[in-house]
């Protein structure tokens, strides 16, 4: 059988990455354009479609199955990007409609964490799973939830924001305006804050979560303690998420998860401690099997496999 192909697009505030993805999950070729030079949708889509055309032509592909897009505030139901604060193009942007002027293929959008989760199911370690949750740790904390083999988008399209689950009532101030969100504890910034608090120094931008990871792996006791605290908080949040959808696995990805043992060992312990007994042994903790520099494009491309 001939190979089939799709396009995955990862829209960031600075760059827009595009990849031609073969059905077995290999990125055949990729390309990118800047995002932040555009203030209007039409020229932006024009240039994206030109890039896609070139990717196809250069690789002798004359037909694609569809275009999947991972974007902040990407709305699965409407095919629009809704008022994304980090984009220079403002308003509700109908990607699906605009792209259909160029090419008559399915165009499917979702947010980046959802795309990452679905990419794990189509191309990564969650193949064949019907129920799992992905937590993405980075600047913020995102999540994607798969139930019955489908991404949970909810009534608005905005489901799966577990980074803004309030973990500790009246806890740390979150950028969302509320207090105690998971994100304030387990994002890269939250981890730095915990480290500085444990060290008794003001929070500083001289330190990042990668450095705290390196320190921990060198045996630094405050760094090790930091990851224990983070593991306890993340383990609680993960155990709470199990009461919702009883997933068979929780996947982790993102920079802070790369630290390894200093996070993962206490995380397993905390997760088991906080897990309701009826779920004992039913849910594994797994690391994303997709490469960090491929997950966004693969996740986006995977979205077209999800039926509306």
């Amino acid at each position: 059988m001939a190979n089939t192909y799709s396009i995955g697009i990862d829209i960031g505030g600075t760059n827009t990455d595009m990849g031609l993805v073969r059905d077995d999950g290999k990125i055949i070729d990729r390309n990118n354009i800047p995002t932040n030079v555009y203030t209007e949708l039409k020229p932006y889509i024009h240039d994206i479609m030109e890039c896609i055309g070139k990717l196809m032509k250069d690789n002798g592909v004359d037909k694609i199955e569809g275009i999947g897009i991972g974007a902040p505030n990407g709305n699965f139901y409407t095919g629009c990007v809704d008022n994304a604060p980090n984009l220079t193009i403002k308003g509700v942007l109908n990607f699906e409609e605009e792209m259909h002027k160029y090419m008559d293929v399915p165009v499917v959008l979702s947010n980046d964490a959802n795309a990452a989760a679905f990419g794990e199911m189509v191309y990564g370690g969650a193949k064949g799973m019907q129920h799992f949750i992905m937590f993405t740790l980075g600047t913020g904390v995102g999540s994607g939830i798969v139930v019955d083999g489908r991404l949970v988008h909810g009534s608005t399209g905005g489901a799966g924001e577990l980074g803004h689950n309030i973990l500790i009532p009246n806890g740390r101030q979150c950028s969302c305006g509320r207090k105690g969100c998971l994100e304030t504890y387990t994002s890269a910034r939250g981890i730095v804050q915990t480290y500085c608090e444990l060290k008794g120094v003001p929070v500083t931008s001289d330190i990042n979560s990668k450095m705290i990871g390196d320190l921990a792996n060198q045996g630094d006791p405050i760094a090790l303690k930091t990851w224990e605290v983070v593991a306890d908080q993340l383990g609680l949040a993960m155990a709470n998420s199990v009461t919702f959808s009883a997933p068979e696995a929780i996947f982790l990805m993102g920079g802070p998860t790369k630290v390894g043992e200093p996070l993962l060992k206490p995380l397993q312990k905390a997760f088991e401690k906080y897990l309701l007994n009826i779920y004992e042994g039913s849910c594994k903790i797994r690391m994303s099997e997709l490469k960090a520099n491929e997950v966004a494009i693969l996740g986006a491309a995977a979205l077209i496999k999800m039926k509306k």
Copy 2:
């Protein structure tokens, strides 16, 4: 078109209630047998099937669409009741298999809170909704979650245990062995505990949540304060659940929700306060529209409408 009928069975530790349900949600007739006189499955199912036969015969119904069962630890995937602690019949009980010896119709099981949620969708206020969550407040706190028009059962069948979401880390001791579960605050017993704590007296069985409701409606300040505290806790849990599935409504049922204004007014306020801004205005708080003495049977009967 002729009417179609189904059987709904509500299995409790003491009694087993059965109802013949018409497709429009009317319970045509009902009957019950004791549960706690049986120690073996076969005679128990025999007597249930005899009751069902009688319900059908008495009402001139010669064909039913299926049998739905709401039971503690009822497992949707296996058709079994798995080691329910409050039943005198012990072990893993294969209801589906045993009933099929008598009647060749679909037999569908789930737990009681899931059944209540699905009943709301088929026969109650959630008709036509694709995404909603039901919280049932009573001796414990249960929940049923509907995503894309289907109950979320998860990988084990045991999804939707939001009563055991840890709301307050290291909070009140829960019967599940962990601390700070939602149930320890918003179950009938949790509400009594809050009242006694606010009053500065030891927790006593002389008081129940109904009495605290009556006191609040008479203007008693400690009772009013109790419901405010409960509303804050429940509102937080509800807002957290929205980050999961972005439901269009959250339904409430059970004794403590009957208090009315003293709970519902501060609850709306707390829910809005804790809700992440992207969900603003997208999720309503609604009371179950099913009658308290009908919900268990209607919910059970509704289960056969959910395709496996």
